[in-house]
């Protein structure tokens, strides 16, 4: 390992340590959510600076001292000194998920049954007599040329010249290898009715980010689908999911019905691990709809999903009855996990509750 690699590794360890130490703050502030790239997340590190020497006594020396001058000393002009820098570094999603898992002591998810989607990967494990020059297998080509030269009596050990001809050439060839890949689909459902405010949506956004990070860490392929609902449900993209606000009433069953139709249409149960997550303030319109929701979860969702998760986010008006009804309906079923999120500070605990089952 080169010294620079060692230094880089040490720096990454420091960054990881800092993220670990401040994980709760990152989780509650949602600071990382907007910084996610494809495979990396930008982390603002506030107080890692270049090491510098500090002198003991800060005595006045040559050229130091209070000056005395005339004229105004205060002003509103722009400063010419350096500003305070916030260092940004990047961690991969994998690293972030590892930190999350270690800090919250999350068990690895055990994919349910044989739910493996198969993918075909070309692997260059074969040898062919034809192929592009870029794939020429030099060693094999030379070996064949050597063998031919020796067999023909042309090989002179004192002057070992081996010239491959066309027949000697060998090329790498691909073979399609089918490999099992664990795949998961995460369906996020959110109540966007009038009682869910901006703060509630930010909480859901932060939770969804960390849930996503953890599930991606556990599966090769993860697809996400987003459903918003008030009295009716519709599928939206990620951006709309976190920005939509409606003023209608809350009919939770509309979201569950849509989720089921998406699953039925696109995600065969024997190939996919399915994770529905629903967030609401729990103010369902009527008890009859709550009853319908419980029936949908029990009869349609639970037989096919790995885990059904419900997060109830408190609004300014407190939260509704849905969490209580759901908990009472599934008191000991480990496949139904409920969590109450009172405020931003509760996000970390809620994520732990939702993911602690390792399902």
């Amino acid at each position: 390992m080169l010294p620079i690699d060692r230094d880089l590794q040490r720096f990454r360890d420091i960054v990881k340590g800092r993220v670990r130490k401040e994980l709760r703050r990152y989780m509650s502030s949602g600071e990382l959510v907007g910084r996610k790239g494809n495979d990396t997340v930008s982390i603002p590190i506030h107080s890692i600076g270049t090491p510098r020497l500090r002198h003991g006594d800060n005595k006045k020396g040559v050229g130091q001292g209070d000056g005395d001058g005339d004229g105004p000393g205060e002003g509103q002009q722009a400063g010419d000194a350096e500003g305070q820098h916030v260092l940004e570094t990047e961690l991969t999603i994998e690293e972030l998920a590892e930190i999350l898992g270690e800090e919250l002591q999350l068990p690895r998810i055990q994919p349910k049954g044989q739910k493996d989607a198969r993918t075909s990967n070309p692997r260059y494990t074969g040898i062919s007599v034809n192929g592009p020059e870029s794939l020429r297998h030099f060693k094999r080509t030379w070996r064949r040329a050597l063998r031919r030269t020796m067999a023909g009596g042309e090989y002179v050990p004192e002057r070992p010249i081996v010239v491959p001809i066309k027949d000697d050439r060998r090329y790498r060839s691909s073979r399609i290898k089918e490999e099992p890949r664990s795949a998961a689909v995460v369906l996020y459902m959110m109540d966007v009715s009038g009682s869910m405010g901006k703060e509630q949506k930010e909480i859901v956004r932060a939770e969804a980010f960390w849930i996503d990070t953890w599930i991606r860490h556990n599966y090769d392929d993860v697809e996400t689908r987003f459903i918003v609902h008030d009295a009716t449900a519709r599928e939206v993209d990620r951006d709309t999911f976190f920005r939509t606000r409606e003023s209608g009433g809350t009919l939770i069953s509309s979201a569950y019905k849509l989720a089921m139709s998406i699953i039925d249409e696109h995600y065969p149960v024997d190939s996919w691990n399915i994770y529905p997550f629903h967030f609401s303030d729990g103010d369902n319109w009527s008890q009859s709809d709550t009853k319908l929701c419980i029936e949908l979860v029990r009869d349609r969702m639970l037989p096919i999903v790995n885990q059904f998760s419900y997060g109830q986010v408190d609004s300014q008006y407190g939260s509704g009855q849905f969490l209580k009804d759901l908990t009472e309906a599934f008191p000991r079923d480990p496949r139904v996990v409920c969590s109450r999120v009172a405020n931003r500070e509760a996000i970390m605990g809620s994520i732990k509750e939702l993911l602690a089952g390792g399902r």
């Binding site: 009715s193 009038g194 009682s195 405010g197 008030d230 009295a231 009716t232 003023s247 209608g248 009433g249 809350t250 009919l251 103010d283 319109w285 009527s286 109830q312 408190d314 300014q316 008006y317 407190g318 939260s319 509704g320 009855q321 969490l323 209580k324 109450r340 009172a342």
Partner: protein, 147 residues
Amino acid sequence: MSAVGDALDAALDREEAGAVEVVAGPHRVRVDVVVPGAVGVRVREVRVDGPPGDVTERAYAIADGARGLGERIVPVEVAPSLGGAVLRTHPDAMDGPEFFDLAVGPGHTTVTRQRRRDDGGREAVPFDLTRRDLRRLVERLAAPTER
């Protein structure tokens, strides 16, 4: 002055706790009185039933006119497809964990006061109104679409 207001005043003059119910024309008013009084009353619930109307119009008209409650009331959920609306105290007007909750249907409105509990749940709590404000509130709920 309105018939429904006068009828309610007359019923409240008896200064008895419990459910006070009056009927005036097409309206029926039910006030759950906890502590009666000549000037003010402590109530648990006020419900006004009347001829059915458009839920959305009713919700916005009540939000505009429910000033007798002393807090700014706003529509939180308006769902004509579900046949109702929920109005509550505006979050900025909340001074503590209590707020008014108005359930509006096509032909009825129920006013309660809720308190947000520490465990996230809610509970109904009694609230105080002057007799004058209660009368104004009931009159407004009985004629909500006059914006």
